[in-house]
């Protein structure tokens, strides 16, 4: 057996499984393996000499109390979180966490509302074409009344009217859908059909408002 094999035997040796005579013969003639064996045995002795800690005297008493508590306490409403995170929560901790979550949610909502308003304003001011889904890609609703509008006016914005007023833009209403209407707009510049529904307002520049006229959708 080579030195690697002997060292494996030394590693596996224990009081229940002492090293064999063959290994002992090798150790007597091999200083490296002898040193390895001595170090390993010394380390084992050091480890097995470590004092063992004892459970406290009241271990059983405390355990009984814990078992009794576990049997009488109802399951925590936060059991799923406790399982997930591997710790328990008191009612106070849970309430504090929920309050913190509520504050964060409110803050996030407020932030996004303000961001949306700013975005709307900038779109209007820069006269950016409206972003609406082309009707050709949308399933047309069946029940609402449909009105077709044809215009070549540059699209300013499809938005709620108050936002336009807030942005100091004087819009001209080209078409406005009631809650029961859907209307489609053909934009000649872009060459596509857009659909607006449920109270949406289609605005164009004031000067071109007269260019809007009802038309048959099929004639586009």
């Amino acid at each position: 057996m080579n030195c690697k094999g002997i060292q494996a035997v030394i590693d596996s040796a224990s009081s229940r499984n002492p090293i064999s005579g063959e290994t002992q013969v090798h150790l007597n003639g091999c200083p490296d393996c002898r040193s390895y064996s001595d170090q390993t045995n010394s380390l084992r002795s050091l480890l097995s000499a470590q004092p063992r800690v004892q459970a406290p005297a009241d271990f059983d008493f405390r355990l009984r109390a814990r078992i009794a508590r576990a049997q009488t306490e109802p399951a925590s409403p936060f059991a799923f979180l406790e399982n997930l995170l591997g710790r328990t929560f008191s009612m106070k901790q849970a309430a504090a966490s929920l309050a913190a979550l509520a504050v964060m949610a409110a803050g996030t909502t407020l932030y996004f509302n303000q961001s949306n308003q700013q975005t709307s304003g900038s779109l209007i001011a820069s006269n950016t074409p409206v972003v609406v889904q082309p009707a050709t890609q949308m399933a047309l609703p069946v029940s609402p009344r449909t009105v077709d509008v044809q215009t070549s006016a540059p699209i300013v914005k499809v938005a709620v009217k108050s936002q336009l007023h807030a942005a100091a833009v004087k819009p001209a209403v080209l078409a406005q859908a009631t809650n029961n209407e859907v209307f489609r707009v053909y934009d000649r510049e872009k060459g596509h059909v857009s659909e607006i529904s449920k109270g949406g307002v289609y605005y164009g520049a004031e000067s071109s408002a007269q260019m809007a006229r009802p038309a048959s959708f099929g004639s586009f």
């Binding site: 010394s42 380390l43 084992r44 050091l46 480890l47 097995s48 271990f59 405390r62 355990l63 078992i67």
Partner: protein
Amino acid sequence: MATLTLSAGLRDAELETDSPVLAVEPSSEVPVEKMDDHSLLAATLTGDEAAFKELVRRYQNQITNYVYRMLDDYDRAVDLAQETFLRVYTSAERYQATYSFSTYIYRIAHNLAISELRQRKRRKLMQFPMFFSDKDSDEVEIEIEDQRQVLADDSMIAAQQREAVTKAIASLPEKYRAALVLCDIEEKSYEEISEVLDLPVGTVKSRINRARNLLKDKLKDYI
């Protein structure tokens, strides 16, 4: 005399097996001190408090010691040892007798200790996010000074040596630590360790050797 069947899997220890269930006949005539572990657990299921108390007596020190070596925190070790017994008590009917009771209870304790170590690691990462690291090791670098020259008293030398060994064990990566503690401190066989850690015997041997080599280096002044 009622026959009690111990069956089902172990949720906490995550032991899965298709082996047949064991039928155990608890005997009220045999004193609890002479009953084997399986019989004690079976008796516990029938409401025999003395049987459970005997199980606790047999294993409380072993489990506390094992968890202590894993965590290096006595109070938490006692707490988790109690949690281990609580789970044994409340899940007794799910005990699968394929494994020895010793393996079963060590496995629960091991899982709790590992869970605790992971929570600590998470907490530490949350406190010091700038030290996030992808290194595949939780080994802690420690400096173990040999103070034997300056310690006059033998008992002080022994105490200092114990402390050095404790620190060295605690600094090992948890996967090596568990295998080493079970082998060289708890004196479990490779097969038992393999069952507790749910690892092949070859992996257990290699982890123990790796742990010993690390310790030889850390404790070179003492061996």
